[in-house]
Amino acid sequence: MALPLPPGLTPPEIAFLCEMELVTVIPRQRLEGLELLGGPLKPLNPPQRSNIPLWLALLLKRQRRANILPPPWLNTHSLTAILDHETEHADTFSPPPRLPSQPSDNTLPISPPFLPTSTADAAPDALPYHWLELGEMLLEAAADDFEEPDQVRKLLRGLREVRMAKLRSGVEVLDAAGGIKMNGVGGMEVGEGRSFITGVVDGLRKIGASREQQRKDRDAEEAENGYSGTAGDYDDDEMDMQ
């Protein structure tokens, strides 16, 4: 019964997550409103656009009940611009879509796959978290809804290669402490890089474990003796040496 998989999401699980992303469809048939487990589904009235989860959009598309409107970032113009940005900035990924304004404290903050980053009115200039999976799935199931599917496919491939190269060259900055910032990374990229990156960080930490332990002991001792009584006063070390 216990799950036989190692920690971390497998590619099918990442695709499953991606299928919760909202996309915009133009229904070709009416569908009454439904009370689904994940919240009510509004009635679909052709030709009114509607935002629905990707899994449902794919189901409707396969049965020719709807057409999917590709998100604004998934076309040749936007992808070319993003690809240029990726090639120019060799160290970082292109920035993720702008977050909606901060919700108040008592509400649950929304994050991918529930941010509307792939609907028809999403930002055209940034790759959302599930860009690769979403792009691939739409190209596979709804290629006829794209203007230039082959061009888009080619650009996605280019983006993937540029970004994988960055992920690989990022290996050089890995160290025992961890703390690597990876803003703009995609879901599938996390999945692919996870075991290697966490493996290296964990391995290095184990090698340096005794030194770290010494330091922890020293810090604890100092805190006890009141040397660094005020936490955050980083000048203490230098003053001790004088």
Binding site: M1, P4, L37, G38, G39
Partner: protein
């Protein structure tokens, strides 16, 4: 705060409970699949979700046999979604079972400690599974070989001699996290590293350093990805 912020807040608050539960469950599932430790049992969330699944199954059973093509297609949609939900719940529970199997004694101690707080670590059925599985195992060990050892060597949770027999997960394991709110400076114990974590940031960081903010084990300001 301008008018957009106000509007956004109203929009968030008007999200139906069902949608929020789906978001919460998804987050809990990803967290459980990626965290090195077992996380708190989200009791209220699971009660609501399981109850809804039960009702939805009843609805599907009621409507099967209806040959009207329109209702039929509605049913396909409902069933597809139902299967997705069942997968989420099942995978979540199985990921927890795996951790319980790996570190039973450690988790039992943690659970006992968590009884004093508001949040218990395990669900009643998980605790029952752990206890009876552990009872069967120790009985088996003792009849097959442990009983022939000297009495002082028969324990399975010996902690004398500076080495504990109770295995526990590696709490310093690196994890991928995304900040849902600004949380300020994070210190990594034993090193000089200090991280400035802002909303929307993605970091690779030790689990022990962010645990108190994580979903399922802390304030929920940081989610695992």
């Amino acid at each position: 705060m301008d008018i957009d912020d106000l509007l956004a807040e109203v929009a968030v608050d008007s999200t139906p409970q069902e949608s929020r539960d789906l978001q919460e469950l998804t987050r809990a599932w990803v967290a459980e699949r990626t965290a090195p430790e077992i996380l708190n049992w989200p009791e209220e969330l699971m009660e609501r979700v399981l109850e809804r699944i039960r009702r939805q199954i009843e609805l599907v059973e009621d409507q099967t046999g209806n040959m009207d093509p329109k209702t039929n297609f509605k049913l396909i949609v409902i069933q597809t979604e139902l299967e997705r939900f069942k997968f989420l719940v099942r995978s979540f529970l199985r990921a927890r079972l795996k951790k319980i199997d790996e570190h039973p004694l450690h988790i039992r101690a943690q659970h006992t400690a968590s009884l004093d707080t508001m949040q218990s670590l395990l669900s009643p059925s998980e605790l029952q599974y752990l206890t009876s599985h552990q009872a069967l195992l120790s009985q088996h060990y003792s009849t097959s070989f442990l009983s022939q050892f000297p009495a002082s060597l028969q324990r399975l949770d010996d902690t004398t001699g500076g080495i504990s027999m109770v295995d526990k997960p590696d709490e310093d394991k690196a994890v991928f996290v995304r900040a849902l709110r600004d949380i300020g400076t994070v210190f990594i114990e034993g090193t000089d590293r200090r991280l400035e974590v802002k909303r929307g940031d993605v970091w690779v960081v030790r689990w022990s350093a962010v645990r108190k903010w994580a979903v399922g084990s802390g304030t929920g300001d940081v989610e695992l990805i």
